[in-house]
């Protein structure tokens, strides 16, 4: 039975090797907008044509360049305060992605680790942690966020931690449930019988099995967290103005949809494309990482 697990591992490595040779389409296409967003985030100071925080009130709510009434040099138009929308989108990518990605990574890592451990050990630790998760799920997230941010202040690291707190339970629950069933599998029992140390079982045998689930869950989380961050911004708990972020810009623009569709449309599109891209990347990654699909491909 240990052979089975070993084979999966080898195939995984083999697959990574083949992927280098022929790049799969389903991964590349959605990766383009995500890459663009990441590049925009990294190179914002050089890419943005104008200041994201300084605007001309007299030229507020002006439409994009191809619509009548546009201000020259403002490609996507101006926002509520006359700031260049394109520059805000580019700088917003930095904040939105930074917050969403780090919160997701922290949430997924902590949640999965706790899920792995509790699912594998069960017993008292499991009961306590499960109760804790239930308590947190029963507690309204926004209320929790208000409490934490009221004490720690609305800073970006605090925001990341709060959002991670909001996302770890999902990972912990699902990973724990998966591990509960996986730990009874023959190959895990065999590894245990052969004297494999617990960390080895957890990270070499169980983690690869569930990694695909974690990745998919995490890609969904990124989108959810971008939206959640905008909710917090609306309550005055999120990214503090004038720092641009897609979520808070979208929220501010909501009341102006009728007069100035572009103020809401572009941040909304940015969120949509990046979230969709990440989800598709997640799908492709899952296919690439899942031992079962690797098996199927090897057989086929």
């Amino acid at each position: 039975m240990a052979v089975v697990a070993g084979r999966a591992d080898e195939l995984l490595i083999a697959d990574v090797a083949t992927r280098r040779r022929r790049v799969p389409w389903p991964l590349v296409l959605p990766a383009i907008p995500v890459t663009i967003a990441v590049l925009a985030a990294l190179a914002a100071p050089w890419l943005a044509p104008h200041s994201p925080t300084s605007g001309d009130l007299a030229a507020r709510l002006r439409p994009p360049a191809w619509v009548e009434g546009a201000v020259p040099g403002r490609l996507l138009g101006t926002d509520l305060l006359g700031r260049d929308l394109l520059s805000r989108l580019i700088w917003g990518a930095r904040i939105s992605l930074l917050i969403a990605l780090s919160a997701t990574v922290i949430g997924a890592a902590v949640g999965s680790l706790i899920g792995l451990v509790t699912g594998y050990y069960r017993g008292r630790v499991d009961r306590v942690v499960t109760k804790l998760i239930d308590v947190q799920l029963a507690f309204p997230f926004v209320l929790l966020a208000i409490a934490v941010i009221a004490v720690a202040g609305p800073k970006i690291p605090v925001l990341v931690i709060v959002l991670a707190i909001g996302s770890w339970v999902g990972h912990a629950r699902i990973v724990r449930a998966l591990v509960l069933s996986l730990r009874e599998r023959d190959y895990v029992q065999a590894a245990h019988a052969l004297g494999a140390a617990t960390p080895r079982i957890l990270f070499r045998h169980l983690l690869p099995e569930i990694l695909s689930v974690i990745v998919v869950l995490a890609t969904f989380d990124v989108g959810r967290i971008i939206i959640l961050e905008s909710t917090l911004s609306f309550l005055g708990l999120g990214v503090q103005p004038p720092t641009p972020s897609w979520g808070s810009d979208l929220r501010d623009a909501a009341a102006y949809v009728r007069q100035a569709w572009w103020t809401a449309a572009f941040p909304g599109l940015a969120i949509m494309i990046v979230v969709l891209g990440l989800n598709l990347v997640g799908d492709a990654l899952r296919d690439a990482l899942d031992p079962r699909t690797v098996d199927a491909r090897a057989r086929g």
């Binding site: 300084s54 605007g55 509520l80 009341a255």
Partner: protein, 509 residues
């Protein structure tokens, strides 16, 4: 033949019965209007809230002894006459024959009970406004005497203020107040019908009200519907589901029919001036020169607002029209900062509760943006409303920080706004170090409070407002404009004090 005529007779009878059945019902139903505010009332007990949205319910259900008309002139209400017998004694005559909605007569005993409860701290949230009262004596069924601790020139005005809404004496007990909070009984133009929290509150015209002046009420039923979302409220008006909406974004004025009037409320920022650099008046003046209030009003608030200086809205007694708002002059701001020894700039924090007023966040961002051009580096902190309330109540604004406030004097007098805020126990008073001009200001305001002679009081306020204009102990922006969105059939004169009063409205057929 007989049968045919009998049948005709029956038809006639039926028709008559139908007409009879329909007519009175129709006449009784009359015109119904719906008003949408962003939040529901929190209570129906007038001693328990001064929140502007909730007070709009009180002002229709209850009467006060005196009242402000639409032109903000003080008029008789339940009191038909009041005169000062000496410096500290007022004799008040009540309107005879007034009945509460439950049919019981309104007497001086009821007024006494309401005022006694209102001025007891802990029993009410309006105690400060009644604090000058020493004693209330009932001198007859419709006569009472109020004795004040010191000469109080504002007593007739205080009778119109929040908390002065008269209900039957039996509701003044703790038990009674609980009942009143749910099922209000007043003597006002509208009586309470039903209330489903966060859904709707219905009131119906009180045809026995003394104030109709012989005419039938134009609005027979008012339905109040809270709609929190700005956009949803606007849509409800456009779909003709409601007749009046409050808190309209100035940008939306182009899309809907609106009624506007300059408000009694001003837009200002409290400044904690207890430490340098904000303790230097040149720094505070520089803050004013470095922001373009005209552009803010014109662009961000669609021209709805009037820049002001000297601390008072032009509706308040004591307003000084000679004080002109500082112009936008970034050069001068830079110079003032340099003179104060801050040529390299200063750091401040701007606080605001999310939802204090329309476009609050945008307002802060605009100020921070224009300040950054003269070297005032402003960090922005938008707070959740409960946190803002806490900061306000506990006076915890940090040094060199500013917080958005929009104060309003319900007395329409400098005493109710400037002195309420800048009193050493007021929100802004604590942050204005008791330096020389500050002390002089305090003395003037305290003196004016107990001065009966109107001319003398006006002079005192003229000097006090000049100190505010020069010292700038707070950041002064503009006087707000009340904006209502209304359906085509509605007409009424919007009130500067934000009150929505059903008896002042008319509806086109």
């Amino acid at each position: 033949m007989v049968t045919t005529s009998m049948r005709w007779g029956l038809y006639l009878l039926f028709a008559a019965a139908l007409v009879l059945a329909v007519l009175p019902a129709d006449a009784q139903r009359g015109v119904e209007i719906t008003i949408a505010q962003p939040a529901d009332a929190t209570t129906m007990d007038p001693a328990r809230s001064t929140q502007v949205l909730t007070v709009n319910y009180f002002v229709n259900l209850y009467d006060t002894l005196t009242r402000w008309d639409t032109a903000l002139k003080l008029r008789p209400g339940l009191a038909t006459a009041w005169k000062s017998v000496n410096d500290t004694t007022w004799d008040i005559t009540l309107r005879p024959g007034v009945k509460f909605h439950d049919g019981t007569p309104l007497t001086a005993e009821d007024v006494k009970a309401v005022y006694e409860r209102a001025r007891t701290p802990g029993k009410s949230v309006v105690a400060a406004g009644f604090a000058t009262i020493e004693a209330i004596e009932v001198t007859g069924p419709t006569a009472l005497r109020i004795v004040t601790k010191k000469p109080d020139p504002l007593m007739p005005v205080r009778m119109a203020q929040m908390g002065g809404y008269i209900y039957p004496a039996r509701f003044a007990s703790d038990e009674g107040a609980k009942e009143l909070a749910r099922k209000p009984v007043g003597s006002g133009a509208y009586r309470f019908i039903s209330w489903t929290k966060d859904d709707q509150l219905v009131m119906e015209a009180n045809r026995d009200w003394w104030g109709w002046g012989g005419k039938p009420p134009a609005v027979d039923r008012i339905v109040w519907k809270p709609i929190p979302d700005d956009f949803a409220r606007l849509s409800a008006l456009q779909r003709s589901e409601v007749d009046v909406i409050t808190n309209v974004l100035p940008d939306q004025m182009k899309i809907i029919r609106t009624l506007t009037v300059p408000a009694t409320r001003t837009v200002t920022f409290a400044i904690n001036t207890t430490q340098p650099p904000a303790s230097d008046k040149r720094v505070r003046q520089a803050m004013h020169y470095a922001m373009d209030v005209h552009s803010i009003v014109k662009n961000l608030y669609a021209g709805q607002g009037k820049p002001f200086s000297g601390g008072l809205a032009d509706t308040d007694f004591g307003y000084n029209p000679e004080l002109k708002p500082y112009p936008y002059d970034p050069e001068r701001a830079r110079k003032l900062l340099a003179e104060a020894g801050h040529a390299s700039g200063i750091d401040v924090t701007l606080y605001a509760g999310s939802g204090t007023m329309v476009n609050d966040k945008q307002l802060l961002e605009t100020i921070a943006d224009s300040w950054s051009k003269v070297g005032i580096r402003a960090r922005i902190e938008m707070m959740e409303m409960a946190a803002r309330q806490k900061m306000n109540n506990e006076r915890t604004l940090p040094p060199n920080s500013l917080m958005l406030i929009n104060p309003q004097s319900t007395l329409l007098d400098a005493d109710g706004s400037l002195w309420r805020l800048f009193h050493p126990s007021g929100f802004q008073g604590k942050y204005w170090a008791g330096n020389q001009p500050g002390q002089r200001f305090h003395d003037l305001m305290e003196q004016a409070r107990y001065t009966l002679d109107e001319k003398k009081r006006k002079e005192l306020y003229t000097e006090a407002t000049r100190i505010v204009h020069d010292e700038k102990p707070w950041l002064e922006l503009f006087q707000e404009v009340v904006i209502y969105g209304v359906s085509k059939r509605m007409t009424f004169k919007p009130r500067a004090d934000y009150r929505l009063i059903g008896s002042e409205m008319t509806v086109a057929k």
